[in-house]
Amino acid sequence: MGELIRLEGIVKSFDDTVVLNGIDLSVDENEFVTLLGPSGCGKTTTLRIIAGFEKPDEGRVYFEGKDITDLPANQRPVNTVFQNYALFPHMTVGENIAFSLRVKNRPEAEIKKKVANALKLVNLKGFENRRIDQLSGGQQQRIAMARAIVNEPRVLLLDEPLGALDLKLRQEMEYELVRLKKELGITFIYITHDQEEALTMSDKVVVMNEGYIQQEGTPQQIYDEPVNAFVADFIGDSNILSGQMVDEKVVRIDGVDYPCIDGTKEGFPPRRRVDVVIRPEDIDIVPYGEGLWNGTIVSKLFIGVHYEMLVQSEHGKVEWLLQNYDQHDVGEKIGMYVDPENIQIMHKPKSEAEHAIELDL
């Protein structure tokens, strides 16, 4: 699996607003890469630059080592599934899917076969003659997929394709997309602001904010080892606390010293001020006094599978978020324990602005 697409130092601004601040990104052949971030983080602009709809102000785009920065969209070996599907309303389903083949003047017999094939791939066999306005949102989504893959692109770009679907359909489509990618054996670059979608489907997640790549890695890496408070906060629920290294591999949070697994070697020498993230599901409830610290449960919510509790610590002013399968009552005094492995130490941002963070992965 070699490198397929590479972005080098992409800078883009619209009317004095800098949208991308020097993006470097490498996408391997056959990879499912997700660009994840809040709206306005630059993920859509990045995708549009790869598709060829926008030209970067600075930086180059490479495809298989060839510079395609100046290649127009209609000559790039990539196809896009648009957020609003962008199906041609004046054409039938079949004509929509056949569009890319017709503009290339392929023989009709081949077109017919390929369209039928594409429809089969998205489980909408026999839909050729339907009109676009007769389709449900989920069906339109599948047709948009079929239209984008019928021409066998090397890369499929997906711009929040599941954004308009309801939760159940979205989860179904997540499985569909993974299956489709396996069957096609092509590269997917996927855009979403939904962390669950990103974690479920991707080989690689690229977290973006304010025009910078904050972190890239496997879903597991991103979840377990966020490099900064933004990533930790964006990916799932977490307790993000200010702390300080007090000794080699000992960190003080909430007025208590905890053992952790990061030390000078990882870039966190004693006395360094740090951010600490602890996932709520990593906090174990133990009898009062037997844990690393003690607290009182101040609120409790039942969220389907587990209970979510807020615990007021006795040591400092911190309110901890806990997720636990066992029920405990509000007002109960408990002890809490966290495995040192689950205390994730992160660098403090050098300034208030998140983008000032220097990433050293």
């Binding site: 969209a73 896009t80 609003n84 890319s100 503009v103 021409n151």
Partner: protein, 271 residues
């Protein structure tokens, strides 16, 4: 949110007074002779030589004007669509501006320009070219029609093309279409409703006008509108005028039906 039925009464009265009664009286006069008996003569009079000739010329000039308007308006509407937002409002304003002036005055202005002693001839002779006869020609009438009706072509087309989702155009490029194919396969088909309304709004008034042909044709070129007008005003023959009007209405309905065939979205966008 269901409006009371009584709210519709003013509109029903309006439709009866403004549409049904006039139409009924045109139909009554059209099928009646001076003695008050039923007759097809007034309607069949359209097929008399001079009337047919006027009708043919009207159709021809209206057709030419509509085609010229379409050829001018479509690129114009596309330019308006592409141009930046702030500029759009201003350009549309400039296009609509002449419509704030009276239609007769605007046509009269062309008289001043085209006359034998007019502004254009003054310029032509000033550079040593021979004086041109421009007034009272079919060309002058077409010019007047295009000038007066062009905004009615631009606005509906602009209205339609400005609503074409940019993503559709991007999708077409993304799927490998060249610029030409994007136009013929996506943009043009999606502008059909606007083109159809534009054609309707130009062709029908151009076909029935008598003011423009009066003012720029000098009464020497008779369009069917002039003949109908003269029957009502000069000859006071309401019967013949009504009969000819009925035939014209049939022509207009037929042309609209033909246009509808091109518009897949059906009649909803007509006018």
């Amino acid at each position: 949110m269901i409006a009371k039925k009584s709210y519709s009464i003013p509109f029903i009265i309006w439709i009866i007074a403004g549409t049904i009664i006039p139409l009924a009286s045109i139909a009554f006069y059209g099928f009646t002779n001076r003695e008050g008996n039923f007759t097809f003569d007034n309607v069949m009079a359209m097929f008399r030589g001079d009337h047919l000739q006027a009708l043919g010329l009207s159709l021809l000039l209206a057709f030419i004007s509509t085609v010229i308007c379409l050829l001018l308006a479509y690129p114009m509407a596309m330019i308006l669509r592409e141009s930046k937002y702030g500029k759009q409002g201003f350009l549309i304003f400039v296009i609509i501006l002449p419509m704030w002036m009276n239609f007769l005055l605007r046509t009269m202005a062309w008289q001043v320009l085209l006359e034998r002693q007019g502004v254009i001839n003054a310029l032509i002779t000033a550079i040593g070219l021979p004086r041109q006869e421009m007034m009272n020609t079919p060309g002058a009438i077409v010019l007047g029609m295009v000038y007066d009706f062009l905004p009615f072509m631009i606005l509906p087309i602009y209205n339609t093309v400005s609503k074409i989702d940019n993503h559709l155009i991007e999708a077409a490029y993304d799927l490998g279409a060249t610029k030409g194919k994007v136009y013929t396969k996506v943009i043009l088909p999606l502008s059909v409703p606007g083109i159809v309304s534009g054609i309707t709004m130009v062709f029908i008034p151009a076909l029935t006008t008598f003011v423009i042909s009066n003012m720029l044709g000098g009464g020497k070129i008779n369009l069917i509108g002039n003949i109908i007008e003269q029957e009502f005003t000069v000859n006071s023959n309401w019967y013949l005028g009504s009969g000819l009007s009925l035939v014209m209405m049939v022509f207009i309905i037929l042309s609209m039906l033909m246009l509808q065939k091109f518009d897949k979205t059906g009649g909803a966008n007509l006018i």
